[in-house]
Subunit: 216 residues, 2 copies
DNA sequence: CGTTCATAGTGAACAACGTTCATTATACTG
DNA sequence: CAGTATAATGAACGTTGTTCACTATGAACG
């Protein structure tokens, strides 16, 4: 009776164990050298066994991405709810920074989610809830008259483009002679956000974009 | 005597023929379903023959990328040299737009160049000459006092991030509910550039960023 | 306790992959 | 025509993802 329940539970545990092992191999060896057989060997099962839990490699990957996205989403939501007193612009900037940091700290997740070409783009992924947070934060800035009356949707998309751009470039082209990483990220964020502000002449916070030419 | 020359020429022709076929397969079937064997079959040679011209699959890809980059670079240089009378800011914006348009019109080239994960990033590619154009255009804006005295290098990199972001997102996530494409591109460019201008209160050209909320 | 039966797990098999290499065909030179 | 350098082959190797007929396992029931 409850034996079947224990079975189900065991199966679920096994599934998460597979995911954990997969993530580890993936992080250690990279995407292209990951293989179902290596994974099977790692968890001491036969290759076929993995297919009891996942339809195929693609679906296994999707599960990993979903996990990662949930983490990003949770981080963003924590941010959205906390710091209630904070200036909405500061909050937006913090959110943008959180997104970038997430990508840089979890480059494989980010690659999964945005960089890897998927054969025929099945589900549109769960970008949308994360993007909702962006819309919300931008909306707040407009409502509280910190931004010009810009279109929330297109502004959110433009901001996403900016932060996705710097995130993916830093991940994918680590050997390019970038300027100091923090400085660059700040500049991208400030450039993107400041031009939306109602009084762009107020210039605290934009520090680095006024830096003297340094000839890096 | 000149027979060996004809041989060399024939070999070169064959190489370009291989590249053309590879590009076609790649464009039609996508990256993951491209294979050396398919390519060989397509050009009516045995699989081994390709290895007379390319060390391996990776090197073949690199060649394709290089071709693509040369095309982008030529497009940008044409822009840099032409339109001498134009305002440097307008010229920069035109350049940014040209970059994005190139990516959208040649998505596979762009994928090759920036999106595909390369196993262990050997040569740093020829991004640099293209990036030089960006540095030059930004430098002109600063010299002619159209920009604040920003750091040219970090500003160029931040701008690159913005246009790479929108380009890659539009290529890679075509099903996302984007706002009108031109509007979005304009907004990304204007947001990124306008915050650098010396007199950000001048607001001709930024049209769309002032649009009323449309609830798209 | 012995039988039944769903399920978990196996591992051999398949087709396709990138790559190598001994072998053969080709086309030029002397 | 003989000799030779090069072009091209295709069989082979070790992978890969995935399938499937099969066996082992362990709970349920008479």
């Amino acid at each position: 009776m409850n034996a079947i329940l224990r079975r189900k539970q065991h199966k679920a545990e096994l599934k998460t164990q597979i995911l954990a092992a997969a993530r580890e191999i993936f992080v250690r060896d990279g995407y292209e050298s990951f293989s179902m057989r290596k994974l099977a060997q790692r968890i001491d099962y036969s290759p076929g066994s993995i297919y009891l839990h996942f339809k195929n490699k693609e679906e296994l990957f999707e599960s990993l991405v979903e996990e990662s996205f949930d983490r990003l989403l949770r981080a963003l939501n924590r941010l959205k709810n906390g710091h209630a007193h904070q200036d909405p612009v500061a909050k937006l900037k913090t959110g943008l920074r959180a997104y970038i940091d997430f990508g840089l700290r979890n480059p494989n997740d980010y690659r999964f989610a945005f960089l890897l070409r998927r054969p025929l783009q099945r589900r549109p992924y769960k970008v949308h809830p994360a993007f909702d947070v962006m819309r919300y934060l931008v909306g707040r800035c407009v409502e509280e008259k910190r931004f010009r009356p810009v279109d929330v949707e297109s502004t959110s998309q433009a901001l996403w483009a900016a932060i996705h751009g710097i995130t993916s470039l830093l991940i994918q082209r680590p050997t390019f002679p970038w300027v100091a990483r923090r400085q660059l990220i700040d500049q991208v964020i400030n450039n993107a956000v400041d031009s939306l502000m109602l009084r762009p002449d107020q210039e605290e916070e934009t520090g680095v974009s006024h830096a003297q030419p340094s000839g890096v």
